[in-house]
């Protein structure tokens, strides 16, 4: 099996049913995606697969064969933070940080589809659990990232 993760090609010899999460974490040492529930409930394991958010704990690695995966480590472009990452810093969103990689990637995918999302769009797209309770700040940061991207275009 082949995976392109954060721009790097990897060859994997693992069971096809191994969840993408565990191929990334324990085979490739890509630790950004986190285990939270194992049943696609919490979204801590979110990565972008060809730009789409997937819950990698419940996504067989074989279904990602030959495709492009972006994890939180690969979101910044040559050291330049993504607008969502910057907004997350500006608004001091994270508390413990465990779910935040997945949250940021979910927000990135949302803004790609809806560059100026409404609160309803945010509610519909941001379904990952945060136990620290950073929801209000995430919402503010997503709007800020959208404004920033809008100002650039």
């Amino acid at each position: 099996m082949k995976l392109n993760v954060n721009g790097q090609n990897h060859t994997l010899d693992v069971e096809p049913e191994m969840p993408l999460l565990w191929a990334l974490r324990d085979e490739l040492d890509i630790k950004g995606p986190k285990y939270g529930c194992g049943i696609a409930q919490c979204g801590s394991c979110t990565v972008l697969l060809n730009g789409e958010p997937v819950r990698s704990c419940s996504y067989p690695v074989s279904s990602a064969d030959g495709q492009q995966v972006i994890s939180i480590e690969g979101l910044a472009d040559k050291g330049k933070l993504h607008a969502v990452q910057q907004a997350w810093i500006d608004h001091q969103v994270p508390q413990c940080g465990y779910c935040q990689g997945g949250q940021i990637l979910a927000a990135v995918a949302l803004l790609k589809k809806k560059p100026q999302p409404s609160d309803q769009d945010i509610d519909a797209a941001m379904t990952n659990i945060c136990r620290c309770g950073t929801y209000a700040r995430m919402r503010t940061a997503i709007h800020a990232a959208a404004r920033q991207a809008g100002g650039q275009s």
Binding site: D26, K34, G36, I39, Q95, G97, G133
Partner: protein, 718 residues
């Protein structure tokens, strides 16, 4: 598979290389200080390039103290915050320096309030020494010199030296004995909303949590505990998995069974196919209904421990013309930290290394040493960033398990991570509690007597096996004996419940449940006398220091919430206040409820008086987080027991609040000074009563048990 046992020396080399280096925690200087850096005291290292390392000796789980504690040092040091780097102190370093860093536990919202004095003194002492070094160099009186932003200035001569230029000389001076501290009113750094030092590492995925530890040749362990609490594995048949890919070992330790593999998923999958014959012990027949009956029995039990007994409450109740009585119930809750329990252990000969998500690294060290039966000096503990702690990660069961596994795989690092299911089903639960409230009202509607009977487990007795003073667990009766209200006769007593359901410290502990009882019952009393809830509360608060803080907090939050202004049709509000963890808090909730029981929370105004607000932005984050943590519990949090085991297992049946349910939260941070309170936990306390009082205002129906889902209520976005 082929796993090469590492020798410790090689391991050390590997672990300090990039392969295993962590963005925080692995930069501790092992050897003597390099020539370009000086340790001025245990907390402060000054480098010749003017950068300053401030050491942080507690742990971080999102509470933000890794930033706010060093801010207090930097404030007194007169350091340039832009040049400060924060480095975590490992527990073994504290041990080898005879606990120079004091208590390392991050529990009880303690970090700032319990260490502010010695942290500020460390900063001030270093500043005094730097000034003295400059004065000596210039041969001028110390009194003519002052420290500003990483420099010492001599105003008469306009001379200036940087901390980096002075550090080596300063470090040779005798530390001052008399260390005056700044008046917080003159703070220039502390008290400002500063960005946290670890946010960039979080948003780039660089920060390493306990689950992210990666070591050469590391093995992964998944475990199963007895489904019935306290049961043991009689026998294990692993024949189905012994030859499976990646499986290294199946280990039966009685209390749990582990599969060790080269990949955690392989271990967890194999564990499902290991046939385990559990001995359930004597508790296989316990269920929630039976537990509830046992709790109910506690309400009328005659042998109880007395927590407070002012006047003659029982006589006053008997003589009263009007008695209000109500029972309140709060259920068992799980912590469900996003990161499950995790610990990595490596035993080489009699040397043990631990990487753990722990709220108490010193306890991790002693637990690990005791399990492995090695001297404490032989143990190193690296406390990793925690994916939430919520009180669960102070207890070291997972550490002992990881060490037990490492002992059976010497020379190989073993990372033990619990699955979500194990995490939820073998938690140390927030105890359920049943409380009977009885009050005697006089003709003006004021309470003349209050009897509080708590029927609940004791965390201190059951988990910590500590002897209870006078039979009282202070968390079980939290906020009852120290209620601020002027009630001449108060009796608080406690019927301890001992069950096989494990209990532990859950964020806000006793204050996560008892304020719901106390402040909702107070609302009942107000309503019984036809009085307005805020005015009623204010009329019951006497004029003393403690009650005055309640009063000012209540009034600050009421003002911010426009309590005196009318609400739109259909919207109703409730209020509550309580003190805990050394801070005073209050909350106002505005709600509307549809005929179908859909609750809209239009507004939450939540306030805190922590004495001093070291990093106000972080305090705001803690209040926002407390609301989310509280609302998940208030609406959905409930664990049930069937056949001796927990019925819920994951987020699909133990529901958490999500973004689409998040109400508008406004925070009031109103520090009045003169005391130091915590901020991580107390704000959750007034939320449930404020909300449930608002629901009463909206529906006329008094809710006396949580969660709200059991009352046909759901949360929808306002």
């Amino acid at each position: 598979m082929n796993t090469t046992a590492l020798n410790r020396r090689r391991f050390l080399q590997v672990s300090s290389s990039t392969a295993a280096s962590l963005s925080l925690g692995f930069v501790w200087p092992n050897a003597a200080m390099a020539a370009d850096q000086t340790e001025v005291n245990a907390w402060i290292e000054i480098h010749s390039d003017e950068s300053i390392v401030i050491r942080y000796a507690r742990t971080e789980m999102g509470q933000g103290s890794r930033t706010s504690a060093p801010m207090l040092i930097a404030e007194e040091l007169e350091a340039d915050w832009q040049k400060v780097r924060v480095v975590d102190v490992p527990a073994h370093e504290n041990l080898s320096r005879k606990r120079a860093y004091g208590d390392m536990a991050s529990v009880g919202s303690r970090t700032i309030r319990m260490s502010q004095d010695y942290l500020r003194k460390a900063g001030a002492a270093a500043r005094i020494m730097l000034i003295e070094a400059a004065a000596q160099r210039w041969s001028v009186p110390v009194g003519e010199c002052k420290a500003v932003l990483g420099h010492v200035l001599h105003n008469p001569s306009h001379k200036k030296l940087s901390y980096g230029q002075l550090a080596a000389e300063a470090a040779k001076l005798t530390p001052p004995k008399d260390i005056p501290l700044k008046d917080p009113k003159t703070w220039t750094l502390a008290g400002k909303p500063l960005p946290r030092v670890d946010i960039t590492d979080i948003v780039t995925g660089k920060i390493r949590f306990g689950v992210d530890v990666q070591l050469p040749g590391m093995l992964h362990a998944a475990i199963a505990h007895s489904p019935v609490f306290g049961g043991t594995a009689k026998s294990v048949d692993s024949s189905k998995v012994d030859n499976r890919r990646g499986i290294v070992k199946v280990i039966n330790l009685g209390e749990f069974v582990a599969v060790v593999a080269d990949n955690w998923w392989r271990a967890k999958e194999a564990l499902r196919d290991v046939a385990i014959d559990w001995d359930n012990g004597k508790n296989g027949g316990v269920n929630s209904a039976g537990l509830m009956q046992y709790y109910r029995d506690g309400l009328t039990q005659t042998e109880v421990a007395t927590s407070r007994n002012d006047g003659d409450t029982l006589a006053a109740l008997q003589a009263a013309s009007k008695v209000i009585e109500a029972d309140y119930y709060t259920p068992y809750l799980a912590h469900a930290t996003m990161e499950p329990m995790v610990c990595t252990a490596l035993l080489i000969d009699d040397k043990l290394d631990i990487w753990a998500s722990t709220q108490n690294p010193e306890s991790t060290l002693t637990s690990a040493a005791a399990t492995a039966e090695v001297p404490q000096e032989n143990v190193r503990v690296f406390a990793m960033q925690m994916g939430g702690g919520l009180g669960r990660k102070g207890t070291q069961d997972f550490t002992r398990q990881a060490v037990a596994l490492a002992m059976r795989l010497p020379g190989k690092p073993v990372k033990l991570m619990w699955s979500r299911e194990e995490d939820m089903q073998h938690d140390l639960y927030r105890p359920a509690s049943l409380v009977r409230m009885r009050a005697a009202l006089d003709t003006s509607g004021k309470p003349q007597a209050l009897h509080v009977r708590v029927s609940a487990p004791s965390i201190f007795s059951q988990l910590l096996r500590m002897p209870l003073q006078n039979g009282i667990d202070n968390q079980a009766v939290a906020c009852f004996p120290d209620h601020p209200y002027a009630i001449p006769n108060t009796l608080v007593d406690f019927a301890m419940r001992s069950t096989h359901v494990p209990v532990g410290f859950w964020r806000t502990v006793g204050h996560s449940q008892n304020p719901f009882v106390r402040e909702c019952f107070l609302d009942e009393l107000a309503h019984a006398g036809g009085q307005e809830p805020l005015a009623y509360r204010l009329s019951l608060l006497p004029n003393n220091e403690k009650a005055n803080r309640d009063r000012s907090m209540l009034m600050a939050v009421a003002k911010a919430a426009d309590w005196d202004k009318p609400l739109p049709a259909g919207v109703h509000r409730g209020i509550a206040s309580v003190d805990g963890y050394g801070s005073w808090t209050a909350c106002v909730c505005e709600v509307s409820v549809s005929a179908r029981g859909e609750v809209k929370i239009h507004r939450v105004v939540i306030g805190i008086d922590p004495g001093y607000a070291v990093n106000p932005d972080n305090i705001q984050a803690q209040l926002q987080g407390s609301v989310v943590h509280g609302l998940s519990a208030i609406f959905w949090g409930e664990l049930t027991v069937k056949d001796g085991r927990l019925e819920q297992s994951n987020f699909h049946d133990y529901r958490m609040m999500r973004m689409n349910e998040m109400p508008k939260v406004e925070t009031v941070i109103a520090p009045t000074g003169g005391f130091w309170g915590g901020v991580g936990e107390p704000a959750q306390a007034p939320l449930a009563p404020a909300l449930v009082n608002a629901l009463f205002a909206a529906t006329g129906k008094r809710i006396r048990s949580l969660p709200l889902k059991n009352h046909g209520l759901s949360l929808v976005k306002a």
